[in-house]
Symmetry: D2
Amino acid sequence: MTRTRTGVWFVGARGNVAATAISGARGIARGTTDDTGMVTAREPCTRLDLPPVDGFVFSGHDIAERPLLHAATDLADSGIVDRATLEAVADDLREIDERIETGTARNCGSAVSLADGDTLDSDHGVSGVVEQIRADYAAFAEEHDVDRLVVVNLASSEPPMRDPERYDTLDAFEAALEADDADLPASSLYAYAALVDGHPYVNFTPSTGSELGGLRELADRENVPHVGRDAKTGETLLKTALGPMFAGRNLNVMSWDGFNILGNGDGKVLDDDDNKAGKLQSKGGVLSEVLGSDAHNRVRIDYTPSLGDWKTAWDHVHFEGFMNTKMTLQFTWQGADSALAAPLVLDLVRLVSYADEHGEGGTQTHLASFFKEPMDVDEHDLSRQFAMLESYVEAHRDDAAAESTDPVRTDGGGDEAAGTGAGTNANSDADTVREAER
Amino acid sequence: MTRTRTGVWFVGARGNVAATAISGARGIARGTTDDTGMVTAREPCTRLDLPPVDGFVFSGHDIAERPLLHAATDLADSGIVDRATLEAVADDLREIDERIETGTARNCGSAVSLADGDTLDSDHGVSGVVEQIRADYAAFAEEHDVDRLVVVNLASSEPPMRDPERYDTLDAFEAALEADDADLPASSLYAYAALVDGHPYVNFTPSTGSELGGLRELADRENVPHVGRDAKTGETLLKTALGPMFAGRNLNVMSWDGFNILGNGDGKVLDDDDNKAGKLQSKGGVLSEVLGSDAHNRVRIDYTPSLGDWKTAWDHVHFEGFMNTKMTLQFTWQGADSALAAPLVLDLVRLVSYADEHGEGGTQTHLASFFKEPMDVDEHDLSRQFAMLESYVEAHRDDAAAESTDPVRTDGGGDEAAGTGAGTNANSDADTVREAER
Amino acid sequence: MTRTRTGVWFVGARGNVAATAISGARGIARGTTDDTGMVTAREPCTRLDLPPVDGFVFSGHDIAERPLLHAATDLADSGIVDRATLEAVADDLREIDERIETGTARNCGSAVSLADGDTLDSDHGVSGVVEQIRADYAAFAEEHDVDRLVVVNLASSEPPMRDPERYDTLDAFEAALEADDADLPASSLYAYAALVDGHPYVNFTPSTGSELGGLRELADRENVPHVGRDAKTGETLLKTALGPMFAGRNLNVMSWDGFNILGNGDGKVLDDDDNKAGKLQSKGGVLSEVLGSDAHNRVRIDYTPSLGDWKTAWDHVHFEGFMNTKMTLQFTWQGADSALAAPLVLDLVRLVSYADEHGEGGTQTHLASFFKEPMDVDEHDLSRQFAMLESYVEAHRDDAAAESTDPVRTDGGGDEAAGTGAGTNANSDADTVREAER
Amino acid sequence: MTRTRTGVWFVGARGNVAATAISGARGIARGTTDDTGMVTAREPCTRLDLPPVDGFVFSGHDIAERPLLHAATDLADSGIVDRATLEAVADDLREIDERIETGTARNCGSAVSLADGDTLDSDHGVSGVVEQIRADYAAFAEEHDVDRLVVVNLASSEPPMRDPERYDTLDAFEAALEADDADLPASSLYAYAALVDGHPYVNFTPSTGSELGGLRELADRENVPHVGRDAKTGETLLKTALGPMFAGRNLNVMSWDGFNILGNGDGKVLDDDDNKAGKLQSKGGVLSEVLGSDAHNRVRIDYTPSLGDWKTAWDHVHFEGFMNTKMTLQFTWQGADSALAAPLVLDLVRLVSYADEHGEGGTQTHLASFFKEPMDVDEHDLSRQFAMLESYVEAHRDDAAAESTDPVRTDGGGDEAAGTGAGTNANSDADTVREAER
């Protein structure tokens, strides 16, 4: 396999998920950590010839100024980024941090607007913002000579959009752009700027992104892959694993209450009622789909600073069985949000790049298992969503280089971008890690 | 659809599961309760023309003398059998109780042998026991003029059998019978007696039952359907729903500890180490299959009298994700064991009867979702097991009377067996219940 | 001991707590249940000569019309009132129900005002309402010839009052009454009406009640005992048991999040944000007192209909120990609210009556262990609050008839009020119950 | 206050608790960590003039050879010892490690005997072992010129002793020593060696230690303080906080099941049934004392390697309230065992030294709150045990230097033993830490 250089552009590049994804990818490249938690590192995806993680070149937009290395250091203090990796990738993080461009925060809600840094919005109109974003994407792609640029939205949840059907056609969307329409949210501006120039787009958040009819039309016209939205990493993941059990056994779920507490920046933004609304909408919908009924269904997200990135969820499921006997299932999930999300980000970049390489534009429905609200997919049963990915792999495996040996690393070693030579002798360590992989 | 009369023979006919299944079936017939918790009462099974529950005629073996009505009354006190049903079916229970025959407790372990009642073993050798069981089956089938007799093992867990490969052929099994082999367990004697005369057999427990090679050979030769073993109703059910989530996301489960406490007769028998061994063996194996790895895996079952039939399980799952971050999932399951098991008993009788009617003998692999150790099936992912049932239905639905309206009740009303007229005016209530069914 | 007849007047006499307290008291009188859960039925209170529960004569105010027997029947369906007691006390409940008078709902919040029944407010001004309440108390006391009348507030939580210091003197309070002051809440009107005529008053709820300076002045002037507020029965009870453990061990509680779900009428009223505010204020304050620090402290109460009276609370305590190691305690409490509250109601009536009999007017600080916000007491450590009750008993036990045999029943048997003879032969059953008591 | 040098001798000096206590004490001395978790660092104990932690000089016995620094490094990897402290105290740990002497493992059970290192037992008889231990104590005390030597047993739990009444007198004990009695357990040999030479003794474990009548007699004769046994740090601590709540409210606990999983060396030793017996005996007894009843009471401890030092306990409490309504409390405790135990070790050394200084020999009953089985104390209610400590302080505070400012540090700075100068400039940091203390 020839070495591929994949450009990865994170909107929200200095946030916890981005910091974890970058640290982990560089740690894999430098041989200090492995690929546990990456769906593409195990069967069936290992049968596809996916672009290697160590060939990823990172950059992105952000409106915060806290350096990437600070974020990673805080994550290390929380036990998420391991110490050995932090040391090994510190220079990489500093270098990547310098590339990060100032972004937009249009309609991101008051919680986000209070962020510390500058934004593009102060001296650009809507269409000016889009032009700048396109220019940022293009400059990076050219400077780093990447084969492909994948844009991933990792920014804080926006408040839900009103009347999205206004933008149901590309013409309507572009007219709004021209008219400096104040309602267009940042996430859709980033998505437009990506799709219009043929860059694949992943919406990892509950924000609008490429969901608008006009942007879907654009993706189809340009034959660019895009997918979303709202990655499922914790409580909702469990719901889509457990819900089918209740449904399949004809147990009547009377109520499902879920309480989430967390203490990271995401938690702080979600403490704002408007921003939370977007998140809750996407979390709540899953259950009625999975259960096929309208159980009492509550989801709360609250901010508890001491927890940091450790999202803790308690769910209480009250259901009745035979002769209406009432029973209960409770669970507590203690997960490090960023550690759960980051490997999926890397998976999606790999899978969307693969689709792009194979000329498969439009919505990527086989990636439904990654999302709370998978675009164009009604199936919410996690195992069946996994089966959709398996079918996709089954249909493509003829293409795959059967002799592919390592799912995530090439033989080329640890260098990320041109100009850093720190990783040249990483191979010996890498072998150790490789052997330790399950 | 013509009214079918299905004979249902419970080994362990006075236990909690049997008492709940019978009360519920008769309650459905008499219109006091509904079919919540029955897999066959929902899609996709409703597309099959399965025998109606109100046409079931019950009897069985037991070695305990506590009347069925006492068991049902105790269950009502625990909130499992509802009061209205208890009243409506009290006469049915009394009548059925009189039909129950004395059984065998060979190799059932010391805990079971201390039961209060007589057994066949005092004045019969092994082959004599089998002859008596066959005669009991036959007499009941004839007296009640049933279209078919399904034998279901609901008796307490036996200690695990040593060297089951001794009985790998039918010849070996029958030679052992002739030789009064003291090692043959009761569950296999009941299974043999059923299969040899063409009665379908369901092993709802972890005991040996029809698992032996010789009995499989017999089922194939006689083309009789049989299936087992160890119905999954609680903690293990959850494992097969949650395990695939960890595996599919490439999360490394380091340990999975499960602690079960319960207070019913089953719990008392399992307090005996030998009997528990059989249960634990079957509970433990599932996890390594589902996870495809050898996580530290502990299951404990303890007897806590105050809980009665309410099995409470706490499971602690310790797993690592990206960059080896260690995370935790805990759940607590508070389920009424009999209320979870009983509807599955009725489902299995319906589905095995259907197979028998369609000439489909041998192991019923499409019923894997019902069992902890499904015979001849390696798939433990619950959703995929459900998909196996769906495929079976899909393949058979042409046969089904598309116009079938009610999944579990015919128009014939509430009578169970000839001779009881108590249910003749149950129809009006039944309509109400029917409408209330989801 | 001479038989005492204690009049017990419940504000909110048709609610769940009242229905449970009355059913239980009458069940004890009729010998169908025992005194488990009553603090006064165990050491040290058994050393005091408290008025017996079977001498309680019940009545009260309510604005709901659902009969007491309906409430009790629903509670029996939820497993709270036992069937035998329900049958035994049905006639008592019907009789008591007829005595219940129409009450006021002034400033009880919109949730309560939407209740089904009439109120005094439609045709009375504020002082007219008070006159009517006094007349209701007096008429009952006279008709039933009680030795003493204790008024207990069991009504739904009111929204918190603004500027309570307006009513810091009795003069100010009475002037407001005269002026038909629209801000006076129902709970304080009931309290005034009680205290002014010398009836002891217990505020079991977080509403204002006798907390106002003017009413404290009145209680002192009239030397009437009163006590409150907000009985602690679940999550807060646990906080006052567990909090001192953290404090005593110098463990630094960083956050304590508590989530309560419940489905009874109380839950419905608390679903209204205004009414909830009163409750949360009282629940939240305890923790900082117990811990002596300002940990992040969240309490939520949400309405989940399927749970009925079963309040379920999950608490997550995040704390740090030596070398700032972060640790976690979680608990889940599944309690039947009414079953926890009702025996305390009976305890408080007994203890307040005793104080009144001994001429001990004013705030009853030795009863702090019963309340979330004990009036005039800063101690929140549950064990130390219990010790306050012990000291009180120790100081009074000389008074006690040492030969007192049964803590809650006299020899007079089961009759509640004049006119019902149903209980005359209850003694034989009662003996059985007495022996069964622990 | 004059600087005091307190010698601290740990039996089990290379185990996790010892490593944490030493690291923490030296971290406090060097100003990298604070005294969170130390009971003596808060009211009321701050009113006593206790010996400062930074004046502790450590040594001890062990039969394991893994260096102290390795243990501390592993604990740092588990998030227990913080990185800054680990670095700051590494030299201290190396120096202390060199002083640790080889110990005895007599009657410590097969699990312990399989440890890697040498023991005294290979070339000494019982009395020879005692002579050697005394010599070790004396040599250390002399070499380091300590004002006092406190011996603390932190070694793995021994199997319970048979017939301890054999050693009810000092004569009997000493005769057994002379006779090389093979049944004397190591913990009692260490205790004898301490007490006979006037060194205060603390038994932090469930092993026999100074519990024997003969050793109590010795402590009284020599007027040496001693105390034990089995420090309560997790599940049992919670039981003594929660149990009184159930008792005080007259709630009938029907069953209390506790399941502990842990993965450290202690867990490994306890996986051995004999050693576990000692532990379970001491954990189980508390509950019936606190509840004053014989509830069904189960405690299990299981070894789950992935958890390391993080002991996780799930407790399920099933209780009944008014009208026999059955309710449930569950809790999950996730505690770092060593981080919970270590500060108590330091507290006990301080408090026992104080008693010794004040000539208060014999059993120290005011320290009951520290232990699962407090010697000579029946009170198990945690709050009341705390009150016993408060009374002691109240009775002694006149002695205390009221102007004492820092509870755990003197002005003398960070040096532990003569010969290490690494801490000389620790004061500036220390001030920072001091200010950060709550």
